[in-house]
Structure formats: structure tokens, C-alpha cells
């Protein structure tokens, strides 16, 4: 759907990515990594000082007007005025996209229904709960049925229910064929919601792929177990097995980094059993996107975000 090559930009330097039509693409990274800057450039809000990008089939440098007609953008702050009702904002937004008064009213009613804002639509936005406000913000971005919707940190600051509700809306958009490009610093959000993820740090893409690919490519699985007796004995027993990539002992527990945990587990059990070692606990841990971030940047995303 678009290609982007951005160079020589202070906040964003090595961003080169492709987003495929119809997918939910996640931009994962700590605060200050350059996610918002990239998004704002792609949404025509910020002129890039170099590089090229095609957004929704149009060239960013020469056709920003065309791009604006085809994309929706929901910024972190949202963009609805606190002194106006949600419905008024939706109608006005529709008018800005060229709809007639009646068409804009009809579209506003549709969106209010779709986003379940019936109870709030005719109140001032200042009275909305966090979740209602966010749904209205998303509605404002959807008024003109954009092909591509940018969502900047769509669930930051929301309670768990509202967050789940936003995810649901994003999935519904996806089902209707809208391409969604979102930024997040939540690992679980990138993991659960996105078809593909690019991890960004200090303005550079450090990894890109489906969450599954990324996790598998970096770390495989982690098997953690404890035995009754000397852990070093157990470690020596298993560490040279073909399926073990790396191993370590921490706090008396043996950590094995393996390609596929579900295959490694029975083999480990057999080895220990054959040596007469009693297994106390065993745990299979799938690597998280945080492990991916850790491997690529040397920091945990949780630390980087703090």
C-alpha cells in the first residue's frame, strides 16, 4: 500500500517499510522512538526532509491533497472539541470531507450507532468517559470511509474494558477491508491485534514481520525447570542436546532456549528420567515481543518506556 524511505530526519532515520492493503500494521516502540513522527509524516501533517513514501497509492511529496481524501488519522489527543457535542463534531467532520448536510447527518448517525455512542452523542465531549471519547475520535477518523486509517496510540490511558472495546473496533474495520496502521508501546496490543509489526527504536526499524515470525526468529521457546538435587548436573545432562540453542542456570532453575518447546519438553523429561533425576517444576514460556526488543536493542521495552 505504501513504501516509505525516510532519511536525514532527526527523529526518524532508517524507516523503510511496506504495509499491505487490508492488514493491521503495528508500529511498536518505546516513547520517543519516532513512531508518532513517522505517522504524522505519512498523514501529511509533517513534511519529511527526505526520502519518499507512497500513501494510499499517492506520492506523499506531490499529492498530499489526494492522500488527505483517502486516509483517516486519529492523533493521540483525539481532536474533538470539549465544548461541542459528539454528533456536531461528526457532522462537521463529514462536511469537511465534502458531504452535504443531510449526508453528513446520516453518516454521523451511522457512526454513532456503530460505535455505540447513542447515549453520549448529544452531550458535550467534555463530559465523555475516556472510552467514549476515544470511540468518538475513531469515528471522526472514519467519517469518509478511508482506505487507510492511522491510529496513534489508540489505547493509551484507557481502562482494560475500553481497551478491549477499541481492539474490537479495529478488528471490525479490518473485517470491512480498511487498512489500519497503528502505533503502540504495549507489547500485548501489538501481539494480539496486529497482523504485522515493525519494531522501532531511536528512529530506526529494528525488526519487522508477523508477531509469530519475530518471536520465533529471535528466541524460539524457553523451557524452565527445577530438579531435586544439583541443577548443574541436570544442566550438563541436557545442554549439549541438538535442540538446545542456549542454556543457563538462574536461581537454581535451568533455562533452556529451544527452537520448539513442544518438541523439546518430552525429550527433556525422558533425559532426566533416564538419569534418575526428579523433576520438581517445569514451565514452557513462549518468547514475548519484549524478548524480541531485548535481543535487538539490548534493552527491555519496559525499561525503555520508563
Amino acid at each position: 500500500m505504501f513504501k516509505s524511505r525516510q532519511r536525514q530526519v532527526e527523529a526518524v532515520a532508517g524507516v523503510d517499510l511496506n504495509v499491505v492493503r487490508g492488514e493491521i500494521f503495528g508500529f511498536l516502540g518505546p516513547n520517543g522512538a519516532g513512531k508518532t513522527t513517522t505517522l504524522r509524516m505519512l498523514a501529511t501533517l509533517l513534511p519529511p526532509s527526505g526520502g519518499t513514501a507512497h500513501v494510499a497509492g499517492c506520492d506523499l511529496a506531490t499529492q498530499p491533497g489526494k492522500i488527505r481524501e483517502r486516509i483517516g488519522y486519529v492523533g493521540q489527543a483525539g481532536g474533538a472539541d470539549r465544548e461541542i457535542t459528539g454528533r456536531t463534531e461528526l457532522v462537521f467532520q463529514g462536511r469537511l470531507y465534502g458531504l452535504s448536510v443531510s449526508a453528513a447527518q446520516k453518516r454521523a448517525a451511522e457512526l454513532i450507532d456503530m460505535l455505540e455512542l447513542e447515549g453520549a452523542a448529544d452531550r458535550k465531549v467534555g463530559t465523555y468517559s475516556g472510552g467514549q471519547k476515544r470511540r468518538l475520535d475513531i469515528g471522526l477518523g472514519l467519517v469518509h470511509n478511508p482506505q487507510l486509517l492511522f491510529l496513534d496510540e489508540p489505547t493509551t490511558g484507557l481502562d482494560p474494558q475500553s481497551r478491549a472495546r477499541v481492539w474490537e473496533e479495529v478488528r471490525k474495520m479490518h473485517d470491512r477491508g480498511t487498512t489500519v496502521f497503528l502505533t503502540t508501546h504495549y507489547l500485548d496490543e501489538a501481539d494480539a491485534l496486529c497482523d504485522r509489526v515493525a519494531i522501532i527504536d531511536y528512529g530506526r526499524i529494528v525488526a519487522e514481520g508477523t508477531p509469530e515470525e519475530l518471536k520465533r526468529a529471535i528466541a524460539g521457546d524457553v523451557v524452565t525447570f527445577t530438579v531435586a538435587g544439583e541443577p548443574q548436573v541436570a544442566l550438563n545432562l541436557v545442554k549439549d542436546q541438538q535442540f538446545v540453542r542456549e542454556s543457563s542456570v538462574e536461581d537454581g532453575a535451568i533455562h533452556l532456549y529451544v527452537d520448539r518447546g513442544e518438541v523439546a519438553m518430552p525429550a527433556i523429561l525422558r533425559l532426566l528420567d533416564g538419569a534418575g533425576l526428579q523433576l520438581m517444576t517445569v514451565e514452557l514460556h513462549r518468547p514475548s515481543l519484549d524478548d524480541v526488543f531485548l535481543r535487538r536493542t539490548g534493552r527491555s521495552l519496559r525499561e525503555a518506556a520508563a
Binding site: 488519522y73 489527543a77 472539541d81 461541542i84 469537511l96 470531507y97
Partner: protein
């Protein structure tokens, strides 16, 4: 065509915001009334003093009040824009295909209208006190004060978009308006001023507006200063609208 439609839309939004806020409307109406009620008692004894300009007390001071109203009324409009920046409203509008000129001009037209209405209120209240002006004079002077409002508001929006915070915007407004008003001769006529001050005044577009307003209230509508004032303000307003619109088009955080 799109520009007119977009300007009308933006104007409608901000006019609606204004008219639905009873406090703003009350302040807007009260402001000219207060100006006049507090000034009136000071005016009467002054008009017989030597050096007092020609015309009755009201015909000398009402033009000054109007110019001041036009400028003060519009100088503060950037505050609401800054709060909109903070809530992402401006960013949201900028990502739509709406004309950037309309984003500025639509708002500034609202400010222009509210200033013109306030000016009309002030003139109507002053009439029973002895202000004299003919209907054509009223129309011309409202246009003139409206242009002051448009010019000031456009600059105010451009400044607000550039500085992006009330903390920077407020001192700029407060330190710039008073010198501009003083050197325009609006508070005290510059007839008695030293030459250097007169030289500065010559570069102050507002002083031409003051001259024009005074001439209108002396019923000298054909006086060259009227045309001069209107043309200077109109040209500067166009420049300010263009600069302000470019500011809307550029990156704002």
C-alpha cells in the same frame, strides 16, 4: 468555490461555538457598554480644555474606543487556538482536505463579525449621549474596525501557531498591544507628541486607521485619510491572512 464553502464551514463552526457560550456573548456585549460608561464621566469636562481636538467629546473619543476594541478584541483570540492545539483539534482539521486559508479565514471572520457587532453596540449606546454620525459613516467605520479585527486576529493566530503555548503567547500580546496603541494616537492624540514619536507613528498602520476613524466621525467621509486607512488595513489584512494560512499549513505540534 471550495475556498468559499470551506471558509463558510469553518466560520459556522466557530460562530456556533461563540453563540452557544452565554459567557462570551455577555462579555462581548458588556465590554463596549463598560468602555463607554466608565469613559463618559471623564469626557465631558475635558472637551473645553485648550488643545482638545475638534468635534464633541464623544466624536473624539468613540473612534479611539472603537479602534481599541478592534485591537484588544482580536489580540486574545490566539488563546482558544492554543487550547485547540493541545486537544488535537487543529491537527484533526489539518489532516482533512479542508483549505488551509479557510482554517484561518473562517475563524478570523468570526472575530471580525463579533468586533463589528460590539462596535455597533458601542456606537448605538453613544448616540443618545451626543455622538453624531450618519448611517453611511457607521457602515464605513464598522468596515474599518472589522478590518482592524481581521488584521489583528490573523496575526494573533499566526503567533499562537508559532509559539504554541499560552506562557509565550500572553507576554507577546501584552507587551505588543500597548506600544502599538500608544503610537497610533488612539489613547492620546499625537498632535502634541515629539517628532521621534510621530516618526514611529508613521510606521504604525493603526495610526492610519485612527486618522480614518476620526475623519469619519467628523463626517469627512471623502477625506483622503479614510480611503488611505481602509486600503492600508485591507492590504495588510490580506498579507496577514496569507501568512496565517501558511502557518496553518505548516507543522504544528
Amino acid at each position: 468555490m471550495k475556498l468559499i464553502r470551506d471558509t463558510w464551514l469553518v466560520f459556522g463552526r466557530y460562530f456556533g461555538l461563540f453563540i452557544h457560550n452565554p459567557l462570551w456573548v455577555a462579555v462581548g456585549v458588556l465590554q463596549p457598554v463598560l468602555y463607554l460608561v466608565l469613559f463618559a464621566p471623564l469626557l465631558k469636562p475635558l472637551q473645553n480644555m485648550p488643545g482638545f481636538p475638534r468635534g464633541g467629546a464623544y466624536n473624539v473619543f468613540v473612534p479611539a474606543l472603537l479602534v481599541q476594541l478592534g485591537m484588544f478584541g482580536a489580540a486574545g483570540v490566539g488563546f482558544s487556538l492554543i487550547s485547540e492545539l493541545r486537544f488535537g483539534v487543529i491537527e484533526r482539521l489539518r489532516v482533512t482536505p479542508v483549505s488551509r486559508v479557510a482554517l484561518l479565514f473562517g475563524r478570523a471572520l468570526r472575530d471580525m463579525l463579533s468586533i463589528a457587532v460590539q462596535s455597533l453596540i458601542l456606537i448605538l449606546i453613544a448616540l443618545p449621549f451626543g455622538l453624531s454620525i450618519n448611517p453611511i459613516g457607521i457602515i464605513v467605520v464598522l468596515g474599518l474596525i472589522g478590518l482592524i479585527g481581521l488584521l489583528t486576529a490573523s496575526i494573533a493566530y499566526a503567533v499562537a501557531l508559532a509559539v504554541k503555548s499560552e506562557d509565550s503567547y500572553a507576554p507577546i500580546v501584552f507587551t505588543s498591544t500597548l506600544p502599538i496603541l500608544l503610537t497610533s494616537g488612539v489613547l492620546l492624540p499625537l498632535g502634541l507628541a515629539p517628532q521621534w514619536l510621530k516618526n514611529i507613528a508613521a510606521f504604525n498602520p493603526l495610526s492610519y486607521a485612527v486618522d480614518a476613524a476620526r475623519a469619519i466621525f467628523l463626517a469627512h467621509l471623502s477625506d483622503p485619510s479614510v480611503l488611505k486607512g481602509v486600503v492600508i488595513l485591507a492590504v495588510l489584512s490580506v498579507v496577514a491572512v496569507v501568512i496565517g494560512a501558511r502557518q496553518f499549513g505548516r507543522a504544528v505540534a
